[in-house]
Amino acid sequence: MKLRVAQKVHYNAGPNMTPLVDVVMVILIFLMLCGSFVGSEHFLVSNLPISQSGLGKVAPPAGFIPDEPIEIRVDSHGQGQFIATAGKIQTSDPAGLTDQLRKMRLALNRAGKNEDQMQVKIGPGKNVKYQQLVQVYEAALSAGYKKVAFARSH
């Protein structure tokens, strides 16, 4: 018995796309497996990786004015917390630290110093986690400082 539907099938409808689809699918799977994607990662750029005395063997030029140091002491407080001490305040909140650092920067601006003449030195304890340091570093950048460096551990 012959089916009526089978009689209606018309195969000569154009070019055969099957090999193209096969190749394209292989390329797609290859790209999906081999590609490493960008976009979820970025960088905190530091032109002053670590601030220390004694390593530089070059004498400063005549008339050299050192940057105004702003020191942030960072200590580990357990349970993923840190305590940052900047000026007269102690905080474990990055937003609070940003506010305090911003106030300090504005005070220095009023005293005639611009951002290029200030240097933030983050002095972490040996046990402070890298994530916490990044938070402090980010707080300093958010407060408008351009020169942020890590200091030797205490």
Partner: protein
């Protein structure tokens, strides 16, 4: 006057699957993947390391990738960080002290910064590269005591720029 001929749509036949929309979508996907994927460019990134997160940051497109060396860092043994980097096409471990009085990390940084003579000045294979920069991909749970010697090694090699690689966090108001 010639009568304008109307084009007719080809007869739709039963039993044939129309693959045109499929090809359209697949082509779009291929173009997307080709644009966003970096194929064959290995910067020595260790994807197993959980890097810290930050809102601020500079996009990789603005970075000087050809002049950079990526240092993968995590907590190591005996107060030393476990540092790996892509050297000569493969991921190599860079110790702070190899037991023979050498500091492979510092020497590698000096090699990229100052050339084969590991000292300032020179030309050709000994030429300096002032644009050389280091990307640090550190484990977020790593203590500062592991990061500190690496930063000191960078300072010793006179590396001007050190970039801390972080996971991008989108700030929501």
């Amino acid at each position: 006057m010639k009568k304008k001929q109307r084009r007719r749509m080809p007869p739709i036949s039963e039993g044939v699957v129309n693959v045109t929309p499929l090809i359209d979508i697949v082509m779009c996907l291929i173009i997307f993947f080709m644009l966003v994927a970096k194929i064959g460019v290995d910067t020595g990134v260790d994807r197993t390391i959980a890097i810290p997160a930050s809102v601020l940051g500079t996009d990789i497109k603005l970075m000087d990738v050809p002049n950079s060396l990526t240092l993968n860092m995590k907590t190591g043994l005996a107060n030393e960080p476990a540092v790996t980097a892509l050297l000569k096409g493969s991921l190599a471990e860079l110790k702070l002290n190899d037991g023979r009085g050498h500091n492979p990390l510092s020497e590698s940084l000096k090699f990229f910064r100052y050339g084969q003579d590991l000292a300032p000045g020179g030309w050709g294979i000994n030429a300096d590269n002032p644009a050389f920069n280091v990307n640090i991909r550190g484990d977020r749970e790593m203590d500062y005591r592991y990061l500190e010697p690496v930063l000191l090694a960078c300072a010793e090699a006179n590396v001007k720029t050190v970039n801390f690689s972080t996971e991008q966090v989108v700030e929501r108001n």
